[in-house]
Amino acid sequence: MKLVSLALQNFRQFYGEQSCEFATGDDPSRVVTVFHGYNGAGKTALLNALVWCLYGTTTPDFQAPDKLENEGAIAEAPIGSEITVAVSLVFDRPDGQYRVRRARVSVKEGATQIRQKSQTLDLFRTDETGELKPVEDNDVKRQKRISQFLPNTLYPFFFFNGERVERIANEDAYNSVEAGVKTLLDIAIFERGEKHLRTQVERELTAALQQLGDAELVKVAKELEELEKAGEVIADRAQLHLKNLQALSIEISDIESKQEKIQHLADLTKDRDRLRADEERNGLEILEAKKRFLAALSKSGYLAFSEGILASTETLIADARRRGDIPAKIKPQFVDDLLAAKECICGTVIVEGTKEHARLLSWRDQTGLADLEEHISSTSASIGRLRERRDDYREASSQFSKDMQSLLSSRKSIRSDLAVIEEKLGDPAHGEDAARLQETLKRLQRQREDTKAEIIVCQRDASNNEEKQAELKRKIRTLQTQNERAALVKRQLEAIDHVADALASLTRIQKEDVRRALDESIRLIWDDAAIKQYEASVTEDYRLLLSKQVGGTQVPVIGASTGEKQVLALSFVGSLVKKARENFGQSYGVQVGGYYPLVMDSPFGSLEDDYRAKVAEWVPKLADQIVVLVSRSQWRSEVENAMKGRIGKEFILELHTAKEGANRDIEIHGVKHPYVVSSLDPIEKTIIREV
């Protein structure tokens, strides 16, 4: 989707009809459209005009979302007359150009009161011949079509308030971020396909088999159906626990934020955060120590009890030497050469039947010992090496015991300190609110641990259930049937199983490809932008992670700043858009990937100068179309310098106010333009002017 133009009619600050065209990347180096606007000029309104036009909703932080009609238009209209607020958007897609118009008609009932009367949604497509044709025959279908272009769950990735974009990097957002990434990058269609085949479709066909098959087949199909039902119950249960876990995490995080805001608890909450970071690091160190020990165990652990066999081998070798069995007196090749030459080195002829020939044969039998000697020689050398490895293993084992003792002792101490801090946080001396908060926190933490345990149980049950289902499916495949229709259903079930397996494999491949691409892109941007020695990465479930090296171990950064999270989040959405573009094309008979715009309201708001410059430099490289809504203070030299070579269109949201002496100018590329205008017109309004 590429935004082409926008037209507004009486939408919030935008009185009457106004329009603008976006930079569409015809010149690929100029993909940025900038709107400069004073506070209250309508930057956020413009962003919401796009969202409302497409989905009939507004962003969560948009004030008074029901009052979209321009106040001036309401004031001017006679009572009883109609007022229309409308937004029209033209956008390009691979299959043509679309024009969407959402309009709401209201009736004026009082000086400032209006009653909403109707809302309409129109959608047209211009095909390759240039003909404009209506799409679908009703609003519901048209909305469905727009949602197919860009599902409404995804719009927060493309139309967002930059000052709140860090929410993407927050712990409690990971579920929606994961779902968003999967939808945008076409993983969801594979996952859903597999799920629907494995559950609903398979179950229906298994039920059909019960009506048709032979007695044994019917019995197995019935058992399978029961297991499938049980599997769905387990999956629902797991889903519920996961939701609960997320809700509990959010509640816990809220309470901890409240505690941090209580001034006299500030030091204690800082100590708690520090101890938690220590606990987390300790946990990682324990894992590392176990990993090191397991590696040593799998390589040389069997040698721990090898002394007996090594010693008896040495004794056997020593005995053989003592008896003179080794070293062998003669090499087998030497005897073979004499037999082949039929002549001794002394010139004696050796032919079959002579006593010399018989003696040589007897020697050759004894030369077998020379092979043994070679083995013994290499075994003797190995005994030394095996003893060294055994000693290394014993050393590793002893070190592991010491490390674990020390780490477990640290853990005990950290937990004990943490318990003291938590008790202090709940001390009634800090006030009833503080005590209540801590009490609630403890309860929620207990619930969270219980929920985690429930999830593990569900995972175990699901795994057992899957194993049993797989066993029954194998059995169904092997069972013969005389009934033709039953045989057909069996073939259909087999095909479903194969396709579901393939979808599962494709999901794994796509997920890893997407994760790696996002991870690489974000690391690159972060390494370039960040001033701290933090490392940015993307986890398997698409969580954004900042970590740092502490004592040789990589540990998560706790308490990253809002600015840091914003840089991380902006690089994440930029990387998403880049990957979607890379994937763009036809695969498996469906359209995958795509081109998406990034519309960012105040994206540089709370960033330090260094970060502003880097974000302004990086984002236009990642996305094909950028729309930036900024105030003068956000469009500072470092941002302007980074972006000016990439601007394709530039506008001023010229604010007209009745207040005297409010005139302000804005200087853009060395030229002054009206920014705020004192007007004789009592109606406050904003006019979109192209620079």
Partner: protein, 59 residues
């Protein structure tokens, strides 16, 4: 971490698809098309459409 090229990913995908018979590949494409059309829905009802495709392709 070494970068896995698009060719490598394409090769992995190709290998999965080669493990399917021609009708199974057609079924896979049909399932993906249905899922994509209904992607915007939280709980899409695609069962009947998929079963119809199964019966059409494997008959």
């Amino acid at each position: 971490m070494p970068t896995q090229s698009r060719e490598q990913v394409a090769e992995q995908i190709r290998s999965v698809l080669l493990g399917l018979s021609e009708p199974e590949r057609r079924l896979l494409n049909a399932v993906l098309k249905l899922e994509q059309e209904n992607l915007y829905l939280d709980r899409p009802r695609v069962k009947d459409d998929i079963i119809a495709e199964v019966r059409r392709v494997i008959s």
